[in-house]
Symmetry: C2
Subunit: 324 residues, 2 copies
Amino acid sequence: MSTNVVGVDMGGTKILSAVIDAEGNILGTAKVSTKADEQTSAVIDRIAESIEKAINKSNVDNASIQAIGIGAPGPLDPETGVVIFAPNLGWRDVPLKAELEARTGFPTFVDNDVNVGTLGEHAFGAAQGVQNVVGIFVGTGIGGGIILKGELFHGASKTAGEVGHIIVKADGPRCGCGTRGCLEAIASRTAMAKQFRKAIKKKGKKSVLTKLTDGDLKIIRSGVLVKAIQANDKLTLKVFKKATKYLGIGIGSIVNFLNPEMIVLGGGVVEALDDTFIDNIRTYAEKYALPDTLNGVQIVRAKLGDNSGILGAAALARQRFEGT
Amino acid sequence: MSTNVVGVDMGGTKILSAVIDAEGNILGTAKVSTKADEQTSAVIDRIAESIEKAINKSNVDNASIQAIGIGAPGPLDPETGVVIFAPNLGWRDVPLKAELEARTGFPTFVDNDVNVGTLGEHAFGAAQGVQNVVGIFVGTGIGGGIILKGELFHGASKTAGEVGHIIVKADGPRCGCGTRGCLEAIASRTAMAKQFRKAIKKKGKKSVLTKLTDGDLKIIRSGVLVKAIQANDKLTLKVFKKATKYLGIGIGSIVNFLNPEMIVLGGGVVEALDDTFIDNIRTYAEKYALPDTLNGVQIVRAKLGDNSGILGAAALARQRFEGT
């Protein structure tokens, strides 16, 4: 009987595939390099290869595999399974679903990586059994996903869940999207790195970050942030307070507008930090949400960590396959 | 056969009831004064009286009435039909549904007035047949409602749709809700009146508003705004540009986050103004929404005007009765 699925987490540098059973147990995994600079067909060959390897390593029959789910970057059409645009991969209009189905023979379902991450938390993580959930993932950027009545909500242009582009401070800092004052432009790791550079290089502020990064403040990894916070670095704490304030304001807007039962916070920055970070965000969300609107709303940490991609893709495969 | 419903629009000064058939035709209406300063039971008696009058005036049998729908102010529980708090009426924890059912004998369904207005546009107005809709009503305050998959969405604390309290400018103008920078604090009629007063009284700016209001700038009615705009009043146009900019930013956030098929704009301010107002809002929404996210999203004017309350309440009665 077909009871297993394969979940694929496709990133710009690596592709992780896993065979997962109905209870969310990971039976076997395989990792390959993306090598995004190679031809699209070669990259898709490697995805198929990682799927085959994961099945072999898990010691299950091909016949036990119901479907494949894959979380991929960039705007994509979850119905046709076409990746519209993925700058990390250099992809435009790639029919990922069709190509993988041709190679593997399994029904394949594709969705956006942050949508898949949110779905993973809903199926196997912090949001199990919760009907209406907003996932917020803070890393290089800020992405998100929306689950309504237990299902991913995609919206009119299939772009729902762009939490990072809620405008929290009109005419505020410039955002990569071309406008100003988006949440991502203040509270993402990229935005924080920019604030550190400005303070240290332009304003001459002292910070342990200079030593921790050997003076290279272009990209600040989450581990470096953790060390700077542990060292009670004044500048880091200030930038952090600002980021949590604005994350709280963004969540306040979401709670006032959509009033979901749960907000799940995940991503590299959230994973690296202790609960003070979440507590700060909650304090600001309480300040900005209308009285009583936060009553039924839980703000929690994501639980799946690095496995959210493969587990979410497994949930996607199962949910979409059963819906067909 | 029961094919008609009664829709009731309950405001702080008047109660309007109407018998409405399955096609949305208004068969008969009755209006009574709310007299909110009287006892709660007397006010509810008058609602029941207006319902009876509307049925009599429409020349239909009581037996033809399927259910009653009523849109009421303030936070309320749409399931129990209890109005939790309505400052305009001086009500706290009033079991409106139960009281009206006891008086009329008809199954009665209650929801928030702006939710009902949005539902009206969905059933009989601008958003017919659209699955996912956000209604935004700009008047003294800014309220809204969310329709997802064809049904009102209430959220975890039954407060979903508080569009006026999306935070668009952190640390911006003070809002009546106790925080700062909410959309309502910049773009509602109350917020605009405040800006006019500040400019005229404190900064000595010239404006036709001084003459149009006989110097009483406490409340600026929509009609006065229209005249000032027609007169090309510099101050009015400036305040208006700001309001439409921030409405556009709020819509930009909504489009990025929820990506609904349609945004319906209604309420006193929107009704009073010509299409330049809507066009301005759309221009700013396009500027603040992510590229491509506005593709499938229509931004339109509400169609039902003063009838949105009774028609929405009729739709509520029908939808909820059929769901029981």
